[in-house]
Every structure is written in structure tokens, then in C-alpha cells.
Amino acid sequence: MTTASPPGGNTIARRAEPGPYSGTGLVPRHRHRFLVLLAALALLLAMSVLSLMVGARAIAPSTVWDALFHFDVSVDEHAMVRELRLPRTVIGLLVGAALGLCGALIQAFTRNPLADPGVLGVNAGAAFAVTFAVAVLGLTDPAAFVWFALAGAFGVTVLVYTLGSLGADRATPVKLTLAGVALTAVFSGLTSALTLKSLATLDIMRFWGVGSIGGRRLDILTVAVPLIGVGILVGLLTARSLNALALGDDSARALGVPIGVTRVAVVLSVTLLAGTAVAVAGPIAFVGLMVPHVVRWFTGPDQRWILPLTLVVAPSFLLAADIVGRIVLPNGELRVGLVTALVGAPVLVALVRRRNVSGL
């Protein structure tokens, strides 16, 4: 990767940036990005360790180490680390990576810098299916929600893609976005119709509707890891094609990019990633929207850098938000879906004011 020559468009974009950025422009570009990637990896490691240490009871790093590698059943803190904080951290890493990559893919794919997993109907489909399970089938066990959320996400994404592919020029980004918005609306309407009809449903859904990575069992991972793994793999493989698609469909076609295959791959990857993430953690807003933006400010528009770096930064952000949520309210906790928004909003505003917004 480091030997890849930067594309011309990036040079232009960098040159067009005024003021505060010129200092780093002196560094050879790929070295700069490589350093950013290393820093992001270090941050991710730090956040993972912090996530194991911090909580209602702070646990020393040495105890965490022992719990992981010299597990002693009789020590309460070891059990706490292994049974509560380790699953939570692992799920945070997984969900964060999935949401971030998903957002980056959708933004590149739809050429809409504001797109996030909600745009293609994934969240609405998952929410509707879970509400249906609660309101109509009477389920209350969150573990059972996973399958409904996945089924809903897949179903609605297939619908969106079908609707977006109607007509001669198949599934263009604009058509997909509009189809996604239209069907998202329909399904969120159906969801609130079901919710408002029953107090019990509303009571369950208002908690599910705020994303959280706490209190999940590790057996969810046996389902989630393969799905998200495939999603990440497929998503990363599309990076080159997405770079070409950024030039427009015609140019991409001229460059020999299989447009149809790329679109199907991206939609498949997005559905796997977002669907599984929502199924595991509930809808967590903002990670998929914000992280790719922040990453793009460091990397420029090359998807071969944006996608991997997002994959590293997004889980750090999610874990950081989760840790903040645990610290802010010592007894009880702020759910991570709330914190991502509360922490992310000022950061995004600060970034957007500080620098020119990166278009796509």
C-alpha cells in the first residue's frame, strides 16, 4: 500500500486547501498517511485496554492482564473483566468497525457525503422487523431480535435495490438514495404505527431504539463475526473500483471497472455490515456518518486509504463513547448510542468550522 502513488485528484485537493494544513504538506504523502494509520492503531489498542479497565469499578492494568492470561475464577475482578467487559469490548470493536466501514462505503458509493447506513433503508428495515417481532409475535428476548433485525435489514435492502434498479440505467447512486429514503420513510411509519398501538411494545422499543453494546452475550458473536468478516472483506475489495466510480460512471466504465458487480458488492457488504451491527447493538447513529469524514481529512479522497483507516478509527470512537458513557453516570450508564451523538456532534462542528469540508 505504501508504494502506491497518490492519484492526481488528491494533489489538487490538497493544494486547494488553504492555511493550517500546509505544514504537513511537506511530508511525503504516503508516509504521512502511514503514520496516521499507526497512530490510529495505537489509539485503538489504548481504547481497548481502557474499555477493559474503566467502569463502575476501575480495574488496574495488571489485574486486567492477569484476568486475560492467568484467569483465576475466585477473583471477582477477573470474572468481571472476562464476563462483562471483554464481551462488551469485543462487541464494541466489531460493531464499530462494521458501522464505520459501512458509512464509508455508502458515502463513496452514493457520492453523497451525508449518507450513512440509514440511507439505504437498513436501519429502518431492522427496526421494523424487531418491532414486528415484539408487537405482533410477542417476543421479548433481545437475543431473538438478532435474527429479525438481520432479516429486516436484508429484506428492505433488497427492496431498495430492486426499486433503485428499475429503468434503463440500472441502479445509479441517486436512484438508490431516493429509493432508500422513500422506503425508509415507509418502514419507519409502519414501525411507529405498530409502536403507538401498544404500550408494551413502546416500552421495549424505546430501549432497543437507543444503541448499546453492554449486556450482550458472547454467543451473538458466533453469528456476527462471520457475517461482519465477509462484509469487511467484500467492502475492502471494492476500494479500487470505488476510486474509479468517483470519476463518474462513464469514466469508470472506460477504465474497465465492472460497475454492476461493484454496486452489488457494495450493497451486499453494506447490508451485511449494517444489518449485523444493528442486530447486535441496536441502531447507533453517527459513527458511520462522522468517522469517514474525519478520516478523509487526513487521507484525501483515496478509498484504498479511507476504508482501512475507517475500519481502525471507527471502533476507537465507539469504544471511547462507551467508556465516556460508563464514567459520566457511575450508577447506571449512558448508552453508547447517545454518547456517540453527544460527543460526536461538537467534534463534527469543530472540524467543519476549522477546515474546508471534504466533498466527494
Binding site: A179, A182, L190, L196, K197, L202, G337, L338, A341, V352
Partner: protein
């Protein structure tokens, strides 16, 4: 600014510059009829407020000014208005007490008609219908303004954080202060929405209001405010959460003439204001440079348009809660119906919005759901259908 009279123009006018010719007077507002020029150079010196696509138009001319209207728009508007009327009569006649369309019309027009019918139609059902009309139209106009302002077909007041602000404001009143009073909730939503919009404006303002920065800041503030609302929702008992959730879905039930008065006055004032904003705003769609060259004060127009757009949404939100999707869908639908080049056509958009909301309310009363739930479904399905049809038949 740009209050020049619209004149009859040659078809297929292009505002292309003519090199070598002397610069024509750019805006000769008091000049006589242009058609009497010896050699009418196509489009020379005229502000390209309208690009003529060669569509059939009707014009009324009187004393040097002419009102030129697109025939298709007029027909579409007439059809929409008829549909609204028919549906209105239908809505007024149905419910727990059914009346025939004839009885409804008699009750509406004849003060001395059957007192029972008049009570049902005029006192009970009419305010709700009028609210649906006003709110639908207001939302649609607001959406049209925002879609033009942001040059984004998905642009809506939501993006400047208004909806989430008013929801946050209303839920503070309902959940934290524990008041379900109509006026208190309306005030809370108004204050919350205005505060959010102001916050977004201030945060996004940096030597000008770049639309893209506005959208990003709007999303950020909106996300922050929504999470505050969610936090409040999680902290209360299910009953109170249901109250807030129902308000958040947008409901027209329980509205009478007392609430209608202020809303109607506000609607009329704001509609007149938005009519003033239309022409410069459409010119801004060509890009700031072109618009400024035509004498549009870009910043001032944008501020004015933002204000009126927010105020229209505020009017609706304070009255009936946030009703989703009408602002987004109505201008788009109207644009497709009239085949217009811009979404900012106030009359077709307003009529479409009114039709959507009246239809939705008709369905909502049958299903015993808040109207907002139905608008989302109806508007969403309609947009999906339009999308499918447009791409299936054309291109």
C-alpha cells in the same frame, strides 16, 4: 431588487452573451414593451429568471406588465385543488356520524340547515380539515424553499436541526416539566426549534453561510438534540413516553377553531413572505456568481429564505407536532407533476402538500393513528411509485 415585470419573450430564449455588441441595459424596469424593438436580439440584456423550454403558456397582459403562466401548471393546480375539495367533503362526511356529500355541502354553505349536521361538520370536523390544509401547504412551501436553498432534493428544515430541536423542546415540557397542556407543548417546541436553528446558524456561520457547512452542522446539532430526547424518553415511565411518542408522530386530533385562528394568520403572513423570496432564490439556484451579477443579494436572500422556511415549519410543529415527509415529498411530487425545472413553485407545491395531508388525515381517522404516521407511509410510497414510474417509462 429584481421586481422587474415579466414580459412576453421569444420562445427558446438563451441568455447567451453576444460578443462585440454594446452592453445592453441589464435591468430596464421601466422600459416599454420589448417586443417592439426593431431587431429583438434573443434574450439580450434580460435577466434569465425564466428559461423558456418552449412549453405552452398563458399570459394576461395589462398596462405594460404581463402575468405569464405555464399551462400545465395551471391545469395541475386546478386538478389538485379539485382533489383537495372532493377529499375535504369526503372527510367532513365520514366518521362516527356519516353524512352524504350533499348534506355536507348544505351544512357548510347554509347557516340555517340541519343543526346536528352543522354541529358535526362545521364545529367538529372543519377545524381539523382546515388544519390539515394549512399544515400541508406550509410544510410543502417550507420544503420547497429548503430544497432550493440547499440545492438538494433531500433538503428539508430537518437539516438545520429544527425538527430535533422542537422535539427536544416539547419533550422537555412534557417529560421534565410534566405538562401536557397544548399551548405549553407548542411553546416548548417553538422555543426548542428556534434555539436549535439559531445554534446551527451561528455555528455554521463563518464569513458566510456555506450550504454544505450548514447541512453538516445541522446534522451534528440534530443528532446531539435527538440523543437528549432519547435520554429523557428512557428516564420516564412508559405512559409518559407514549405521550411524547404520540406527539412526536404528529397528530391533528383535538384541534378546534381557537387553535386555528393564530395558525391561519401566521400561515397567510408567511406565505406572502415566501412569495417575495421565490424569485431571487430561484436565481440563486444558478450559483451565487450568476445571481449576484443579476442583482440578487445572496446573503440577505438566504437569510430571509431560511427564516421563512423555519417559521413555516415552526408554525406546523407548534400546532400539531412534527409531521414528517410532506416537506420532503410535496415539492418533489409537484415538480414532477408540473414538469418544472425548479422545486420552488409555491402554488403547486402547497396544493400538493395540502392534498397529501388531507389524504393522510382521512386515512389516519379510519386507522386511529396519528396523521404523521400515515404521511410517512403515504408520502414514502408515493415517492417510491413516482420514482419507479419515472424510470420505467422514461430513458
Amino acid at each position: 431588487m429584481s421586481t422587474h415585470p415579466t414580459r412576453k419573450r421569444e420562445p427558446a430564449v438563451t441568455p447567451a452573451p453576444h460578443p462585440g455588441e454594446p452592453p445592453a441595459p441589464v435591468r430596464d424596469t421601466d422600459a416599454p414593451d420589448l417586443t417592439k424593438r426593431p431587431v429583438p436580439a434573443p434574450g439580450r440584456g434580460e435577466p434569465p429568471a425564466h428559461v423558456d423550454f418552449g412549453r405552452t403558456t398563458w399570459a394576461w397582459r395589462r398596462a405594460g406588465t404581463a402575468l405569464r403562466v405555464d399551462r400545465r401548471s395551471v391545469l395541475v393546480c386546478a386538478a389538485l385543488a379539485t382533489a383537495v375539495l372532493v377529499l375535504g367533503v369526503l372527510t367532513l362526511g365520514t366518521g362516527s356520524i356519516s353524512l352524504s356529500p350533499g348534506q355536507v355541502v348544505t351544512a357548510l354553505l347554509d347557516p340555517d340547515s340541519d343543526r346536528r349536521a352543522r354541529l358535526v361538520v362545521v364545529d367538529w370536523r372543519l377545524p381539523r380539515l382546515l388544519f390539515a390544509l394549512i399544515c400541508g401547504a406550509a410544510l410543502a412551501v417550507s420544503g420547497a424553499i429548503f430544497q432550493s436553498l440547499t440545492k438538494n432534493p433531500l433538503g428539508s428544515p430537518d437539516i438545520i436541526g429544527f425538527s430535533s430541536g422542537s422535539y427536544a423542546g416539547a419533550s422537555v415540557v412534557m417529560l421534565l416539566l410534566g405538562s401536557a397542556n397544548y399551548l405549553a407543548v407548542g411553546a416548548g417546541s417553538l422555543v426548542g426549534g428556534a434555539a436549535a436553528a439559531l445554534l446551527v446558524y451561528l455555528l455554521a456561520y463563518r464569513g458566510g453561510l456555506h450550504p454544505f457547512r450548514l447541512i453538516i452542522v445541522g446534522i451534528a446539532v440534530g443528532a446531539g438534540l435527538s440523543s437528549i430526547t432519547s435520554m429523557l424518553l428512557l428516564s420516564v415511565d412508559p405512559q409518559a413516553a407514549m405521550l411524547a411518542a404520540t406527539w412526536a408522530a404528529g397528530s391533528l386530533s383535538g384541534l378546534g377553531f381557537t387553535e386555528l385562528g393564530p395558525a391561519a394568520v401566521g400561515f397567510v403572513v408567511l406565505t406572502l413572505w415566501s412569495v417575495l423570496v421565490v424569485r431571487p432564490l430561484v436565481q440563486l439556484e444558478m450559483g451565487d456568481d450568476a445571481a449576484v451579477a443579476l442583482g440578487v443579494r445572496a446573503h440577505r436572500v438566504r437569510l430571509s429564505a431560511t427564516l421563512v422556511g423555519v417559521a413555516l415549519t415552526a408554525l406546523v410543529t407548534a400546532a400539531v407536532g412534527p409531521i414528517a415527509f410532506v416537506a420532503l415529498a410535496a415539492p418533489q411530487i409537484a415538480q414532477r407533476l408540473t414538469r418544472s425545472s425548479t422545486t420552488l413553485r409555491i402554488v403547486p407545491a402547497a396544493l400538493t402538500g395540502a392534498l397529501i395531508l388531507v389524504t393522510a388525515d382521512y386515512a389516519a381517522q379510519r386507522l386511529e393513528l396519528p396523521v404523521g404516521v400515515v404521511t410517512v407511509c403515504v408520502g414514502g410510497l408515493y415517492l417510491a411509485w413516482l420514482l419507479a414510474r419515472q424510470y420505467a417509462t422514461r430513458r
